[in-house]
Symmetry: C2
Amino acid sequence: MSWTLSAEHLTDLARGAAILGTGGGGDPLIGRSLVEQAMREHSRTVTVLDPDELDDDIFVIPTAQMGAPTVIVEQIPRGTGPELALRALERHLGRTADATMPIECGGINSMIPLLVAARAGLPVVDADGMGRAFPELQMETFNIYGIPGSPMALAGQNGESAVLDTGADTRRMEWLARGLTVRLGGVAHIAEYAMTGEQIKRTAVPRTLSLALALGRSVREAREAHRDPVRGLAEALTGTLYSHLRVLFRGKAVDVERRTVEGFARGKARFAGKDGRSQLELQFQNEHLVALVDGEVRCVVPDLICVLEADTAEPITTGGLRYGQRVTVVGISAPALMRTPQSLAVFGPACFGLDHPFRPVEEITSSVRT
Amino acid sequence: MSWTLSAEHLTDLARGAAILGTGGGGDPLIGRSLVEQAMREHSRTVTVLDPDELDDDIFVIPTAQMGAPTVIVEQIPRGTGPELALRALERHLGRTADATMPIECGGINSMIPLLVAARAGLPVVDADGMGRAFPELQMETFNIYGIPGSPMALAGQNGESAVLDTGADTRRMEWLARGLTVRLGGVAHIAEYAMTGEQIKRTAVPRTLSLALALGRSVREAREAHRDPVRGLAEALTGTLYSHLRVLFRGKAVDVERRTVEGFARGKARFAGKDGRSQLELQFQNEHLVALVDGEVRCVVPDLICVLEADTAEPITTGGLRYGQRVTVVGISAPALMRTPQSLAVFGPACFGLDHPFRPVEEITSSVRT
């Protein structure tokens, strides 16, 4: 069912999106502020369209921000960039978008389409192509199930725009777009994966905006009721496409290595357990890729690894990790369409240079108790 | 006056263009072969339009190849790239080109527009925007006298295309296009500086295709008559916009340092004089920038520094320099419109990080005799 999103939803939505963002997808505060401001300026709420109810021939252009999160947080993005990218792609295609849509879940990238929607008066489709956040543009269920990302448009902070056309080769599109993004200063706004309602129904991860809102709300309500917010989160996931939550680790950040390399934030974070003996290592490329407890895999892509503040379950991005933070790290099972052999060939562990085979988090891990 | 260029002109033209290319602008042999093949396939000659006779509202899209010459010679370019770039820019602008034009003089870049012309049946304007070769896209008299390079289109070897729009900021366009070219494998075909006949008359260096043909022919005819081909060259320049030729040095290449850095071929070449005492150093970024004889400046950008084989006056590109080559190095005075303060601000010595002020070659150097 379609629903109306207004400014009072944004804090919960941004929190939930950052949880699904699995360490990446941008900072929730920046994303939320941009949308709040646009809603205020244009006196608008945003209509969110249920993907199952879309007309087959509705024309949708997804919008997003790309770049290393470490760079993104150091710039105040201009609110005009995503719309500029959308318009550049419309011009190239000679066709006007009926709606926009996220390409991933995340603190910023769940918000960018809402920003476009509030500014341009477009509805937003309640779906995306990653069902979480991933670092590269070909890592989309859209691409996996047959929709090319190209042509795509990019917009820079100074009003520059670019349109790339790499035909069916979406990996090549990512390669060129990443190079441009680095030259644009490390962050760009993008429009890509233009598609119809029929194609969305066939390829997207459905209802991830609703889910992000529900997750963010469950954490807040648990806090308000002085209940365990991680338990609130687990309950909110029950019955969704993401049905399993496992507590992988509780402890304290003791070491964070982070480098911005070729447009990505890459690194490792280590956490010491309360018992002083066990240790968790997370490896990330913008997003968390694998969680190793004392050297054993407890959760691996495409399953979701989320670092939460121990007391509040507020999500912490890979860029926000700091020495001494007390955290609860959870693993969440990815939807079935993200665990198929076709999907694992595009965003499974091997795509990130990891040797570990994919194994479902609910099969390899029981929640820790302490 | 307009004239007809046919396949038998190409060897002389490519040679003359490589001389004006001042070490860059691509390999004459590759450029010539591409045009010969296209003329044969399409059974065409090419109409060359005199810039002074252009209708004010004729619409011209220049075409070229960009990338480090060191990379270009290692790839056999596909003949379709420049036309693909032209069509991408036409599509973006919603306007069809009436003609194409070179952006610089050089073994390849004087040829690329002829390739487009032969394939697409378009005329070519007898002018360009550098009057020689320069390494960067903003280094154009077009830009200096008020025509933005943007929007521009790029095409890669695998059929990829990109359109960049940086508004009036042509330096920013160069920065983004260079990054894309590196990611496209080091070489791209481009279309940029779309403009009208009126704008060409106001901003271009006129009749550089005719001049290249005359220079190449003068060298060949001098060889055939067993006369000094460098003298032939000097005579052919008399009465043109490039009126002064100075022999800077005669000697042997003793040292060549060349690196491909950020999409450019940068380096130095050293030559020992016949007397065994004096030494010439050339510094280059794709093209030769400054000639120092025993530490003293004898010729500096934008004046032209051309390395010629000692016996034949065949031009040698910066990529073709080899230990032991016997050479005559000449300096040629650049046209007056390339020596204005506005021009020196865009492609004078300081733009390449050189401390030497610009001084005209005819004022600082007398031809060596030996």
